[in-house]
């Protein structure tokens, strides 16, 4: 389970030089009243695709055991496609050096 850490979404940024890297990261949470978790349960079997500004596939990662993911993307506009059982969700996101795009994505 994800614990209440310092980061709102993705994995810890400790050890990452944010003056050089432009990071897109986050956590995928599944909405659900049945599970009784206020912010939803982390989705551990989601696949996140990173598409460039032309819509071309660039990279893909699965979520980790805490439902988190991370890309080292170049600065600019990107599209994330979240795939999980029964779900497909697209989001626009901007990457910039110095300020990681740290997302909490509800599906």
């Amino acid at each position: 389970m994800k614990t209440c850490g310092a980061t709102p979404g993705g994995p810890s940024l400790d050890g990452i030089d944010l003056t050089k890297q432009s990071v897109i990261q986050g956590v995928i949470l599944r909405d659900g009243e049945a599970d009784g978790v206020p912010n939803g349960a982390p989705v551990v079997n989601a696949h996140i695709r990173l598409l460039d500004s032309q819509g071309e596939f660039t990279a893909e990662v699965p979520t980790n055991t805490d439902g988190q993911f991370r890309f080292f993307a170049a600065p600019g506009a990107w599209t994330l496609v979240v795939l999980a059982p029964g779900v497909r969700k697209e989001l626009s996101v901007k990457a910039a050096i110095g300020v990681p795009a740290d997302l909490v994505i509800q599906i």
Partner: protein
Amino acid sequence: MSRETALVTTDWVIENLKNPHVVFVEVDEDTTLYEQGHIEGAITFHWREDLQDGLVRDLISKEKFEALLSKNGIANDTTVVLYGGNNNWFATYAYWYFKIYGHQDVRLIDGGRKLWELKALPLVKEVPARAATRYVAKERDNSIRAFRDEVIAAIGTRNIVDVRSPAEFSGELAAPAHLPQEGGQIKGHIPTAKNIPWSKAANEDGTFKSEAELKSIYEGAGVDLAKDTIAYCRIGERSAFSWFVLHELLGVNNVKNYDGSWTEYGSLVGVPVAVGA
């Protein structure tokens, strides 16, 4: 080769979970995935510990391959069905490996682990115990494997397909965007190579596109499929995926995977290199 002999669907897998002639083998880039859960009855190969020699930079020897399969209860007449994460990258590498050593019946789950997960099909943690066999491999079939001298000679004469991402091809990146930036000593690509990223061949759910779509992707990028072809990437896994598309799905002859790939080529002294799109 064709889709019918090289691929199986997830429905086929479900029907054959208890088939004693079938062994499912998971091969992942992230080797912790198998421990988190795998298809019932599946064994796993570790792409580095099991499939790399370790001393010499090469495939494991025939004897080691025989020992690996024997230990895992795979016989010469077993139907081996491979699958893995990351759109089957490392599973197609293992498929190519089985073909190198002449295994008769090897197949790939279309969509791999991703489609299995997206369909919310069951994964188990139990590791099967399989009775050992006495596997006998054939001598290596190097007709599907390219070495560096052959690659250099192919510049400007054969199709060379670079299946890495555009940023790796152009020389901006040394590795895929989600991995540590390591590989060859320099960045760029082999001159005259066409950049056709592996991902062009896959649908969003990890399955392969149709043969008509696949053919038009390669021909549209200027690859003459009547000519001999060498595919490469950074370490030979993604290019095994594209080798699979060309050789196994489209049935194109004379397609070789250059498993030395950019890690080797980009470290060679004195060979020509190109940068830019």
